[in-house]
Amino acid sequence: MARVRIPTPLRSYTGRAEVEAEGATLGALLSDLDRLYPGLRFRVVDEQERTRPHVRFFVNGEAVRDLGRPLSPDDVVFIVPALSGG
C-alpha cells in the first residue's frame, strides 16, 4: 500500500491528511482512492485521463505527469494543487 498525502481541498473526501491506497500505477492508485473515497478521482483527473490543469502529482518527491507511472508499495505519493501567486 502506497502512502498518499492529501491536500486540504480534497480532505472533504478523505477526512485525513494521509491515507493508503494500492495500485501498480499512479492511475490505478487514483482509481483505488476513488473506490475508497468516491468522487475524488474526477476532481484531479478528467474524463480523458488527463491530469487537471492545476493539479500535480509527486512520487517520492519526483514530479509525475504520466498516470501510467509504475508505483511500488512503499512509494509516497503527494497530490498537490499547483502553487500560484497573486
Binding site: L10, P38, V45, D46, Q48, E49
Partner: protein, 373 residues
C-alpha cells in the same frame, strides 16, 4: 403563500436567502461550499426542496452537489457531467455552467450545460449525468462551437436550456458562441434558430459560429414567446415564426442594448427586463456611465422604461452576469439581481424601487428566486 428563496451562486461559494412573508427581511444561510466556484444553484420547482449546485474550485475539477434538505446536507453526484471518452483532442468538462429542471411530467429529470459547450441529462435528480451525443459529438455543432481557444476568457458555454412546458420533446439551448438551437424530437436532431439575429460587423450571420446569445428566456405565460439578450442586441421571437425581432433598437441610444441578463414576467408575456452594460470600445462590461439601471418593456419591446430608483446614481461600475437576475412569482413580482462586486439587490414592486439586500459577497455568478415547498 409560497415563500421565496433566493439562491445566490458566487465565485467563492453559495448563499441562500430565506424571505419573510412580506419580502422585507431575509435570513441568510451560508456560505455553502466556501471557496468553490459555484456557477449555478437551482431549486427543483417540482418538489420545492431539491437543490442542485454546479461547483468546482480553482484547482479541482467540476462536480454537482445535491441537497433534498434545502442545503442542510449535500451529496455529491456519483457521476457528474463528463464528455464521452475520445482520442487525441477529446474534450473535458471544465465546469458545469447551467442547470435546468426537466418538465413537470418527468420528475427527477434535469439538463446541464457546460463549458466547453456540452449538453447533459440526468433522470435521477442529478445523481448521474449522461452526455447528449446528438449535441456533444455532432460534427456540425462541434464546428459551430469552435474550440476553447475560440471562447471567452472563462470558457465557451452552453446555457439557456429551455423546456417547452407543453411538450417535453421540445427544447432549446444557446451557446456562447455557437448560436441558438431547437429540437422537437427530444434531442435527437437540432436546428439553428438564427434568422434576424445580428452578428459582429463583417461576419456572416448565416454561420452559427458567429452568434452569441447571452441569455434566452421563455415566457411561462406564453411558451411561444422567447426573449433574448444577445451580444448584438435584445430580441423577441414569437413562434412559429423563426425570425427574431431586434427590440433593443428602441432602447435609449446612450445606453444601447448590450447586456448579459434578461428576465421575463411570470404572468405577462409583454413584460421583460434587461440590465444593460457598456459594450463599446474594449467592452468594459460595466454599467453604462457607471449609472446602473434595469430597463423594462411592458409592450413586448416597442418601448423601454428606466428603473433606477434606489440604485446608485454614479460611480457604480457593476456587471450583472447572464444568470444573475431573476424574479419571483408574487404579485407584484419581486425582482432580484447580483453584481460582480458582490451586492444583492431586490425590488418588491417590479423594479419601481430597489434596495440592497446584501453587500460584500464574492463576485455573484447567478441568482435564482425560487419558491420553497
Amino acid at each position: 403563500m409560497a415563500r421565496v428563496l433566493l439562491l445566490v451562486a458566487t465565485r467563492k461559494g453559495a448563499w441562500l436567502f430565506h424571505d419573510d412573508p412580506r419580502r422585507r427581511a431575509w435570513r441568510v444561510d451560508g456560505p455553502h461550499f466556501l471557496g468553490h466556484v459555484v456557477h449555478h444553484l437551482v431549486l427543483d420547482p417540482r418538489d420545492g426542496r431539491t437543490l442542485l449546485a454546479a461547483a468546482k474550485t480553482g484547482h479541482l475539477g467540476p462536480t454537482v452537489f445535491r441537497s433534498t434538505t434545502l442545503g442542510r446536507t449535500w451529496t455529491e453526484a456519483a457521476r457528474p457531467p463528463a464528455f464521452a471518452k475520445g482520442g487525441e483532442g477529446a474534450r473535458a468538462v471544465d465546469h458545469t455552467f447551467w442547470l435546468t429542471p426537466g418538465p413537470a411530467s418527468e420528475p427527477g429529470s434535469w439538463y446541464a450545460g457546460t463549458s466547453p459547450q456540452g449538453l447533459f441529462r440526468s433522470v435521477d435528480s442529478g445523481a448521474t449525468w449522461e452526455p447528449l451525443s446528438s449535441v456533444n459529438d455532432d460534427p456540425t455543432l462541434r464546428r459551430w462551437m469552435g474550440t476553447v481557444q475560440d471562447g471567452t476568457p472563462d470558457g465557451p458555454k452552453l446555457h439557456s436550456i429551455l423546456v417547452d412546458p407543453r411538450d417535453p420533446a421540445h427544447l432549446y439551448f444557446g451557446m456562447s458562441g455557437g448560436g441558438f438551437h431547437e429540437t422537437t424530437d427530444g434531442g435527437r436532431t437540432w436546428t439553428p434558430l438564427l434568422d434576424g439575429m445580428e452578428v459582429v460587423e463583417g461576419f456572416d450571420p448565416a454561420d452559427p459560429t458567429f452568434h452569441d446569445p447571452h441569455c434566452v428566456r421563455l415566457c411561462p405565460s406564453n411558451p411561444d414567446r422567447l426573449y433574448q439578450q444577445n451580444h448584438c442586441g435584445i430580441y423577441r421571437l414569437d413562434r412559429p415564426s423563426r425570425e427574431w425581432v431586434r427590440i433593443g433598437r428602441s432602447m435609449p441610444r446612450s445606453v444601447g442594448d448590450v447586456g448579459f441578463t434578461m428576465v421575463v414576467h411570470p404572468r405577462d408575456a409583454d413584460t421583460a427586463c434587461v440590465l444593460p452594460m457598456d459594450g463599446t470600445s474594449v467592452w468594459p462590461r460595466t454599467s453604462p456611465g457607471g449609472r446602473p439601471a434595469v430597463y423594462v418593456t411592458r409592450n413586448s419591446g416597442r418601448s423601454w422604461r428606466r428603473l433606477d430608483a434606489g440604485l446608485p446614481r454614479r460611480q457604480a461600475w457593476w456587471t450583472v452576469k447572464r444568470q444573475a437576475m431573476s424574479c419571483d412569482a408574487r404579485d407584484p413580482v419581486g425582482l432580484y439581481f447580483g453584481t460582480t462586486s458582490g451586492e444583492l439587490w431586490s425590488s418588491r414592486d417590479e423594479g419601481g424601487r430597489w434596495s440592497c439586500l446584501a453587500r460584500h459577497l464574492p463576485e455573484i455568478y447567478a441568482v435564482e428566486a425560487a419558491e420553497r415547498a
